[in-house]
């Protein structure tokens, strides 16, 4: 079967599952849960950084979805509907916890902020391959707004127009926040490398000395 | 004493007829020892004990065929269960989910290995200590069910056995066909239904109570919480309410063919709802009338009295 046909077949079978679930078929619910649980849970985990919270939120997201499943009419893909709901569940949770969020409706300023550089020897070194644990830690350190966009885009693979729809912001804002998030992560990862590799010393070479 | 009587019986046998009689009497003596000690016939397995670590608020469910079920809440995140079966023809299954880590759900069920098993052979007795915040669901068609000291929701269903619950803070739902139901000091919402069994409410602090029986009696002893909603209905049985002198409630009592006996100071309402087309009704307030109390009976007697 071609990739396009596979996608089409998957969509059809999911539609059938949704219809069966709308009639109360437990197996259909179980199949839908199985198909989407990892994406939802990973989303919740990376946005909260806490496994217990992530499991609670995963549970809540699926419960809300299944309670409303009779209202699903197929206007959007089922997975989009689910993940949008999951994101909303997480965001509501975070708001309740009173975590400071960066609004995604900020005017774009990234074009004007210079990328920080430390003109030392260390700055000429690449991060190299980014280890998973380091990145997970760095993601957890991000301010919430940056974290949300980075997780949705670079980890979960949402497009900016999808993120804009989910987060109720403009595509431009989504792109801007993503760039800031990546820069923040870079800062954190480089700082983390300096902490863990004390032998890498920063020298005081002046810019004119370069090239 | 029983043993020495038994020995006397067997040692004085001298002829075949007396031997048969003596054997029969000896068997009866043994049986009476076992019955009077309250033991299950020891053909089944010896008691099984199990301890399961749980979350602080697990869901516990128990399905039995017949026997005694006793559940008590305690201040530990652990379920401690003891059970014994009357015969090897029934078995108890126990399941905890998730399988690793503290259980969020624990289920006990008795099932018959031999489909033809009936009567006492199908009995299993349970005793559970469960976390205070557990939600508990029990189905025990025959035999006593006793539940105490829980803050979670509790559901008990029986057919012929007596149900006795005390100090339940969560939502309490109790249903029986022929068993009596006794509910002491509930503080959450209560629904209690029996067809032929009696209902007895003792010192409730709940704000919502529903009690219905067809041919059983209802007895309510206690106050009514401010703003509470109480509805008690008996068909042919009597309905007795005993409350303190300062109880504050609005009363709507009606009966089709029964009687109303009121020795409680109730001020009849001027604009009462129309009475049933036949029968009696009393609509009025006691003190400031903050709770709502509805008492209905088809042909039983409704009595409202002061608590002694």
């Amino acid at each position: 079967m071609s990739p396009q046909n596979k996608v089409a077949a998957k969509a059809v079978s999911e539609t059938q599952l949704v219809r069966r679930a709308q009639k109360g078929d437990e197996e259909a619910f179980a199949s839908l849960f199985e198909a989407h649980k990892r994406r939802v849970y990973s989303l919740c985990l990376r946005m909260t950084g806490n496994t217990a919270e992530a499991e609670d939120l995963t549970q809540e997201a699926f419960l809300q979805l299944f309670r409303k499943i009779s209202t699903f009419r197929g206007e959007s893909a089922f997975s989009t509907w689910l993940h949008r709901l999951a994101v909303n569940v997480v965001l509501m949770h975070l708001r309740k916890k009173g975590l400071q969020q960066i609004s995604l409706d900020e005017p774009e300023t990234s074009q004007e902020e210079p990328v920080k550089r430390d003109y030392g020897d260390d700055d000429r070194r690449l991060l190299g391959s980014v280890d998973r644990i380091g990145l997970e830690k760095a993601i957890a350190e991000l301010p919430q707004g940056y974290r949300t966009v980075f997780v949705l885009h670079d980890v979960e693979g949402y497009e900016h127009n999808e993120i804009a729809e989910i987060m109720n912001c403009s595509v431009g804002n989504s792109k801007s926040q993503l760039h800031k998030a990546r820069l923040k992560l870079r800062e954190w990862l480089r700082e983390d490398r300096r902490r863990t590799q004390p032998q890498s010393l920063a020298t005081s070479a002046s810019p004119q000395d370069e090239r | 004493m029983h043993t020495s009587a038994l020995e006397k019986e067997t040692n004085t046998v001298s002829n075949p007829r007396a031997k048969v009689t003596a054997t029969y009497q000896a068997a009866r003596t043994v049986l009476s020892i076992l019955v009077s000690a309250g033991l299950l016939v020891a053909a089944g397995a010896s008691p099984v004990e199990k301890t399961i670590e749980t979350t602080p608020n697990p869901r516990i469910s128990l399905g039995n065929i017949q026997g005694q079920v006793v559940v008590k809440g305690w201040n530990k995140s652990v379920v401690h269960a003891t059970w014994s079966t009357a015969s090897p023809r029934v078995e108890v299954d126990e399941e905890a989910a998730p399988p690793d880590g503290p259980a969020e759900r624990v289920r006990f069920s008795t099932h018959a290995l031999d489909p033809s098993v009936t009567g006492h052979d199908s009995a299993a007795d349970y005793r559970l200590e469960v976390p205070l915040n557990s939600s508990v669901e029990i189905r025990n068609p025959q035999g006593l069910v006793q539940v105490e000291n829980l803050q979670g929701d509790t559901t008990v269903e029986s057919v012929g056995g007596k149900i006795s619950v005390a100090d339940i803070a969560g939502h309490l739902s109790v249903r029986s066909v022929g068993g009596d139901i006794e509910i002491a000091r509930p503080s959450g919402r209560v629904e209690a239904y029996s067809i032929t069994g009696n209902l007895h409410f003792i010192s409730p602090t709940s704000r919502k109570i529903r009690g219905t029986t067809t041919s059983g009696k209802i007895t309510y002893e206690g106050d009514f919480a401010p703003g509470g909603d109480y509805s008690l209905s008996a068909y042919s049985g009597d309905l007795d309410v005993f409350c303190p002198a300062n109880a504050s409630f609005e009363l709507n009592a009606k009966s089709v063919r029964g009687r109303l006996e009121n020795s409680f100071p109730i001020t009849p309402k001027r604009h009462a709802p129309p009475p049933p087309s036949a029968g009696f009704s009393l609509f009025g307030t006691s003190n400031s009338g903050t709770a709502t109390v509805e008492l209905t009976s088809y042909r039983g007697t409704i009595r409202i009295r002061r608590l002694p």
Binding site: E26 | P98, P99, V159
Partner: protein, 228 residues
């Protein structure tokens, strides 16, 4: 660090401004071109590309089985997931009867049956273990319930199921059920008579409907316990 935070050249400044759109796939040839000229900017670009790739490579993680267990338990409790069908419900379903839950079917059937009883003549009281449906059937005045005939049939089949299983019940259980059903039948008869004589007697009507509901519940309970 006197030079911390300063850009090297205007080109680096331009690089910074266009870096974000470049990484989003917009055509910004200056970015890669400058990166070949400037080690620092080359490092920044490489770092951000590495972070983007690493993000995509993060594996999906799965929740513990407890999550589905809880979801399923909640959905069952809320009636969104239908309970596995018990034997007698399967039997009803296979015979083309109502596919709703039995209590609902039984209740509506019993409501119709109440109509039948309301319009029948006096019956002799029945003795234990006999016909719970009660004596002869009289064509009743319809009270406008749809599918009245089918509902009556359902009710009779329901009680027939119970009667068929009656002999297999534990004697003590059977006695409790029979006492309960007799008590309810007594109340049904009485209330039916009251309603017949005084149609405006709302209390009697309430008791009548309540008795039917309870009877449906008892029959369901009896068949469920037996199925287990």
């Amino acid at each position: 660090m006197a030079n911390e935070g300063l850009l090297r050249t205007d080109e680096c400044r331009r690089f910074d401004a266009e870096l974000g759109p470049y990484l989003e796939g917009e055509g910004r040839p200056f970015v890669p071109a400058h990166a070949t000229q400037c080690r620092f900017c080359e490092v920044v670009l490489a770092d951000l590309e590495a972070i983007r790739s690493a993000g995509r490579a993060l594996p999906l993680e799965g929740p513990s089985p407890a999550v589905w267990a809880n979801v399923r338990a909640n959905l069952r409790a809320e009636g969104i997931i239908h309970e596995p069908v018990s034997l007698w419900q399967q039997w009803l379903g296979s015979n083309g009867f109502l596919r709703t839950h039995a209590p609902l079917g039984a209740l509506t059937a019993l409501l119709v049956f109440a109509v039948v009883l309301l319009n029948t003549s006096r019956r002799p009281p029945h003795s234990p273990g006999t016909d719970f449906a009660g004596g002869e059937k009289v064509v009743s005045a319809s009270i406008g319930l749809p599918d009245q005939q089918q509902l009556e049939t359902t009710l009779l089949e329901l009680e027939t199921s119970f009667r068929a299983r009656e002999a297999t019940l534990d004697p003590a259980l059977k006695a409790a059920y029979i006492r309960g059903l007799e008590s309810l039948n007594e109340s049904i008869r009485e209330c039916s008579e009251s309603v017949r004589r005084q149609p405006e007697n709302t209390l009697a009507r309430q008791y009548l409907l309540s008795a039917y509901t309870q009877k449906a519940e008892i029959l369901e309970t009896a068949l469920e316990f037996d199925a287990h």
